[in-house]
């Protein structure tokens, strides 16, 4: 993150992503421009993140509570959420 502006971002985890990471959410300081870059930062941080994000095909993302793509820009979003494919209904 050298040279880039960082800012506070709320992260949320659900279902087995929450269980693997060990918490339902946290606030991080990040300069990641996209969700994918954010995931890379998290993976490098600790083993439990690397494990939770080991298969990205099994991970879904919401940016400010709207479903989004892994390559979505984070922009001025306040909250990014990670979870497995949904099983409503």
């Amino acid at each position: 993150m050298t040279g880039t502006t960082t800012r506070a971002l709320d992260l949320r985890y659900f279902a087995w992503l929450r269980e693997r990471i060990g918490e339902g959410g946290e606030t991080v300081e990040t300069g990641a421009p996209t969700v994918r870059a954010l995931v890379e930062e998290l993976r490098e941080r600790e083993e439990r993140y690397a494990l939770a994000f080991s298969d990205l095909r099994a991970v879904r993302v919401a940016v400010d509570q709207e479903l989004a793509d892994l390559d979505a820009p984070i922009g001025n979003a306040r909250e990014v959420a990670f979870f497995p494919p949904m099983t409503g209904g």
Partner: protein, 150 residues
Amino acid sequence: MAVRVQREDFDLGAELARLREGRTDIGALVSFTGLVRDLDGRLREFELEHYPEMTARALEGIEAEARARWPLQASLIIHRYGRLAPGEQIMMVATASAHRQAAFEAAEFLMDYLKSRAPFWKKETTPEGAHWVDAREEDEAALERWEERR
């Protein structure tokens, strides 16, 4: 025109009665109710996790899309979360229209979207342990039939 996300059970009959109360413009009323299945008596716990800040918004978006596609006189989505017992109601949708085709199609559309696009996750606990219910590939595929019609 209503979406409710709640821990408590709901009264299916009362909800359907309310939907058509005092009206004479509804010809067809379709309801779908999802229930907790336990075929072999081994289900110890069933839990529905959700993303509270996103859920109502996602359901309202799905409902608005259905109302844009079909001429509906009324619609309702109720989805529960939390711990449920075998046989309990998980959720319901209801659609009311002048004719049966619109009511059926809109109800199926709502269900297909709810299955794969509403932020709920199911966890089942049996004597062997707990596991998160996998999304079914058919459920993702079911969405495609609605894409084609856009």
